[in-house]
């Protein structure tokens, strides 16, 4: 395609010049506009509520640790976060990295199955059933005492991603479970395992410290965790519906009620609170389903089961599941509040649960939290 007819040079130049000038003008404006990036900014920020922050506003040194340790070579101590009393970084050759954390959680004198499955999921392993648990455990000494459990999980390499390895030691004393975790590059963790075991042996606990520091530094608007010798100062207030009899709560439970039916059959209501998300709604729902003899569900089906409902100052969902064959029914409410999750469960014979469902939901709705 040939070029168009060319006007004489001078006329063309005059026509083009204004455009050229305009162009240059635009460019200069843009450049100037973009140049003010590197200056000091002053702005207002809202106060940060505790869940957003990783730690308290108290300076690091003033927190009194309840546990002392002897730091192995190659481990560097890092500032601990809200839930952790100890955090260390371990580096190996090249880019290998591992992290060691110490997390105490109160009141978990019960089983490890959910935690084990959660840790297994972290390194990409499928969950196990309760029956298989015993063969995964090694015995280990913590703080000079035997009888603690050590789990060693290596991720599956089938998907060709990097292999992680997780060592977890669980130590229980005085109503508190201490979790010592080492997670990182598989080869490095394997090499560090003896050092980890040695570290566990040399850990010492301060006497007379029934509460881990987390209770002392609990965020102001979250209820303090139950269990231990703390009594009921963190317990919410509720109105017990008619016909419910309060029972002694079992391990891990904040409260327990039974609702017998005069016509026979019974149902039980339990209240449990756990920090964080306690393994996630899906894992807990599947555990409950297993308890009444239903098959587990996947994430997609879970969404269909959950119904959100109104609870003041918190997020809540409830669900209702029935096992036809065994004629058992379970109504549960999961309330996320602050840094904790409250599980309210109504389980028992199908008919009785049906009768108590409305009272149960009302009970959950009217609970007042906070001390």
């Amino acid at each position: 395609m040939p070029a168009g007819p060319r006007p004489p040079g001078a006329a063309g130049a005059r026509f083009a010049l204004p455009w050229v000038r305009g162009c240059a003008g635009v460019l200069v404006t843009l450049v100037l506009a973009g140049c003010e990036r590197e200056s000091i900014r002053v702005y207002q920020a809202p106060k940060e509520t505790a869940p957003q922050r990783q730690a308290m506003s108290t300076p690091f040194e003033s927190r009194v640790p309840q546990i002392h340790w002897k730091l192995p070579a190659g481990w560097q101590e890092l500032p601990a976060g809200q839930m952790r009393v100890g955090q260390f970084a371990v580096s190996g050759q090249g880019e290998q990295k591992a992290e060691v954390t110490i997390i105490p959680l109160p009141g978990l004198a019960g089983g490890d199955l959910d935690n084990v499955n959660r840790w297994r999921a972290q390194v990409g392993l499928p969950p196990v059933k309760a029956e298989e648990l015993p063969k995964l455990v090694e015995d280990v000494q913590v703080g000079g005492q035997a009888g603690s459990q050590l789990y060693d999980f290596v991720g599956t390499p089938y998907d060709r991603s990097e292999t992680n390895r997780l060592l977890v030691a669980v130590f229980r004393a005085e109503g508190t479970a201490w979790f010592f975790k080492m997670l990182g590059d598989s080869a490095l963790v394997a090499a560090q395992k003896p050092a980890f075991v040695e570290f566990l042996k040399n850990v010492t606990f301060e006497q007379g410290a029934p509460h881990p520091p987390i209770a002392a530094a609990a965020p102001p608007d979250a209820p303090s965790p139950p269990g231990g010798g703390d009594g009921g100062s963190g317990k919410p207030t509720w109105t017990v519906p008619a016909g419910w009899q309060e029972q002694a709560p079992g391990p891990m439970q904040t409260a327990k009620f039974s609702a017998p039916d005069p016509a026979g059959g019974k149902a039980e209501i339990t209240v449990v609170v756990l920090p964080g998300d306690a393994g996630g709604t899906l894992a807990n729902v599947n555990r409950w389903r297993g308890q009444i003899g239903l098959a587990p569900v996947g994430e997609a089906e879970l969404n269909q089961l959950l119904t959100p409902f109104e609870v003041a100052g918190a997020q809540a969902v409830h669900l209702d599941m029935t096992a036809e064959g065994a004629k058992r029914r379970l109504v549960a409410a999961v309330v996320s509040r602050g840094g904790n999750t409250w599980f309210y469960k109504l389980v028992g014979d199908e008919a009785v649960v049906g009768k108590q469902k409305e009272a149960f939901l009302q009970f959950v709705r009217n609970i007042k939290y906070g001390s």
Partner: protein
């Protein structure tokens, strides 16, 4: 005489070809360079510069060896405008060409505007959490926060580029000067018992913890973790030398003159007048694989002043456009399945490529069809 000659060169087709060829070479070399120095450094060196410099080994000279992106793009833009104005003006039978050139001009200008004005950041939210700010993904700021007031904090944020100058920093909102004793672009943890550096902290976390300088990283999946030692100097005396680092999650606190302050070196934050609360993050993978099938975040948008409170679903290829910014579903945390990562982009020039594409597409189509019709007519004669 000289001006006429210059204008003639500016309008010439030869200049276009030369610029395009130089542009091609630049893009090719810049792409290869990414392998060594990483995408950001390559962009800055080749595409966001007027010249590409080279330092001969053994010297400290910075020789410009070829024109950079801005220069080539600028000359091309001028050439385009000038050539079109001179040769075609607004002739009717050159409509196709006019559209093409107009579209290209719009594209170049729009991209330049984007380059200069775009701000990208990310929001990392856990389920249930509400966030009111997004964080830069590469650059940090030294935030000095006045937490005395009960309702709001006042933040003075010093970008790390100012820290790098290692000069004293003063600001009307700060009752003390900030002296930078040490600043490292990147740092690593120091193994326990490692050698101490020359500068020691006299206050705060730095008394217990140390870091070591590390080479800046060029990898896309890691970022630099800057560390610095700063001293706060009010009118008289000193508030101590503090260790600040991106590694430290917790702000350190001190008081001065009956006010409490916190200091932290953290990713630069961009606060917004509204908050996003993550209600639910869904991340499905194809069964039996690690291939992600979909991501979506259901968030609650709350703006206290306008009383807006609604739920929005953000998922791949479907962002939220609000408040002059756009929120994209960018990623997730491999270790925590309840965390979503949203990419936040402020780009006033985002519409220019859409218009440009339509213009150029239409123009090329008109040109092409005109030729095709003519060709077919001739062949079938």
């Amino acid at each position: 005489m000289g001006l006429k000659h210059l204008v003639r060169v500016l309008c010439s087709l030869r200049l276009t070809v030369v610029c395009l060829a130089l542009g091609m070479i630049l893009v090719f070399v810049g792409t290869l360079a990414q392998v060594e120095i990483g995408i950001y450094a390559a962009q800055a060196k080749y595409f966001r510069s007027f010249f590409v410099y080279w330092t001969p080994p053994g010297t400290t000279l910075n020789l410009p060896i070829m024109p950079g992106g801005y220069l080539i793009g600028g000359v091309l833009l001028v050439n385009l405008v000038a050539a079109h104005a001179k040769r075609f003006g607004l002739a009717r039978n050159k409509t196709g060409l006019l559209l093409v050139h107009a579209g290209l001009i719009l594209l170049l200008v729009g991209q330049l505007a984007t380059d200069l004005l775009q701000v990208e950041s990310a929001m990392r939210i856990s389920e249930g959490e509400a966030r009111q700010y997004s964080e830069d993904q590469r650059f940090s700021e030294l935030a000095i926060i006045d937490t005395t007031a009960a309702d709001r904090d006042q933040v003075v944020a010093i970008p790390e580029s100012l820290l790098a100058r290692k000069q004293d920093i003063r600001h009307p909102n700060l009752p003390f000067a900030v002296r930078v004793h040490q600043y490292w672009v990147n740092s690593t943890n120091v193994p326990h018992g490692g050698a101490a550096g020359a500068v020691r902290a006299t206050e705060g976390l730095g008394k217990r913890v140390q870091f070591a300088e590390a080479a800046p990283t060029a990898r896309m999946d890691m970022r630099n973790m800057p560390t610095a030692y700063v001293e706060f100097l009010p009118a008289s005396g000193s508030l101590g030398t503090w260790l600040v680092s991106d590694w430290i999650d917790t702000p350190q606190t001190f008081t001065h003159d009956k006010r409490t302050y916190q200091v932290a070196l953290r990713l630069a934050r961009y606060y917004k007048p509204f908050s996003l609360q993550l209600l639910k993050f869904s991340h499905d993978k194809y069964m039996g694989t690690e291939i992600p099938k979909n991501f979506s975040s259901r968030v609650r948008l709350q703006h206290p002043e306008t009383r807006e409170d609604r739920e929005v679903l953000i998922y791949m290829n479907n962002p939220l456009r609000y408040g002059g910014e756009t929120f994209y579903q960018a990623g997730y945390d491999e270790k925590d399945p309840r965390v979503t990562i949203l990419q936040v982009v402020r780009n006033p020039g985002w519409l220019t490529p859409y218009f440009s594409c339509s213009l150029v597409g239409a123009g090329l189509l008109i040109q092409f069809l005109t030729h095709l019709v003519g060709f077919v007519k001739r062949r079938t004669e």
